[in-house]
């Protein structure tokens, strides 16, 4: 259950970006999370109202884009789908692979309303 800690780190970043962009309010937050990030999206969604309460992003919608898990094989060069506990090459079966997608734990974008301007 480290999702609340992750959510608080997210909130810190949201506040910084909102200040930089001179936003009056943040209305939407979009994340990208892969299966290898070690973070459970549903738990983040549950923690979000608590982490965002009383701040610039209160009431903002949290959207989570689940990223596909893909690996690239260092032996045969193929890119294939994988599962968190089976990261073998889907083509030749080698374990010498590297994830090319699926490790994301990213704040992708914010939707916001600016100070004194009609956005």
């Amino acid at each position: 259950m480290h999702e609340l800690a992750v959510c608080q780190a997210l909130m810190d970043q949201v506040v910084l970006v909102a200040q930089r962009e001179q936003a009056r309010r943040v209305t939407g937050v979009t994340l990208q999370i892969g299966p290898l990030a070690g973070v459970e999206p549903q738990l983040l969604l549950d923690a979000w109202p608590i982490a965002s309460a009383g701040g610039v992003a209160q009431g903002a919608e949290l959207l989570i884009e689940s990223m596909p898990l893909r690996v690239r094989c260092l032996e045969c060069g193929c890119d294939t789908d994988a599962a968190p506990n089976r990261l073998l090459c889907g083509e030749c079966g080698s374990f010498r692979t590297r994830p090319i997608s699926g490790e994301e734990l990213l704040l992708k974008s914010l939707e916001l309303e600016r100070d004194g301007k009609v956005a």
């Binding site: 962009e21 990030a37 994301e104 974008s109």
Partner: protein
Amino acid sequence: MCDTCGCNVTEGNRHLIEPGGRHARTESGREAVSVLQDLLSANDHEAAHNREHFDRHGVLAINLMSSPGSGKTALLEATIERLGKEFRIGVVEGDLETENDAARVRKKGVPAVQITTGTACHLDAHMVHKALHELDLGELDILFIENVGNLVCPASFDLGQHRNVTLLSVTEGDDKPAKYPVMFRASDLMLVTKSDLLAVLDDFVPAQAEHHLRHLASEAPVVTLSAKTGDNLESWFDWLRDEAIAQEERIAQGRTVRPRVQPEGALLHAHSGA
């Protein structure tokens, strides 16, 4: 990670920051601002800071992770007994409550700082940084960070260590790497502990544990040992000696190293093949 130098930009997300992307209007008329920053970037920044501290003082930092009760502290005690004259060892202990583990390690004659996390299920870079203020890094060669016993959360937080070592005791089941892939794929070394109990267990096969680890695309070495009987501890000590030498060489060359899984490194090539 930062959002000024462009190091987050990949083939997969470049379109977001090109004209029309970054400040694209949404249907509601509000403004969408692209950020593309790792959620744990504040932690990672602090971790990099810790790593600089370690490197400046020539310290090798090892993060020990496992489920509770797999024998992390017993391994440390045996390690200090055997290598305490060869290396100046220090320990940071992480637990939810009590000073017990730090007290055990101090009895072996090395400095130990206990972090009690309260309810937090993992150590983070800030907690470790605070603990470092209580240690004289100039007096250490190897710092062990014994993470909170937990096979899930510690894997997500870089502490500034150079290497991750994950313990799997033979009473736990040899399929643990398949059940907790995020943790085990972050290992630079997997130790199968309490091997003295293998004789009375018929359901743990070390080769099977290694098989599951390989399925995580891990090339990390696997050492089966017992801190209680001393069985095969020399292999673990040899690994430590090799790592200590490698750390000296890196420092001489002005380089550093991060554990096997580097979230930022992964982000640099995220989606490049999608």
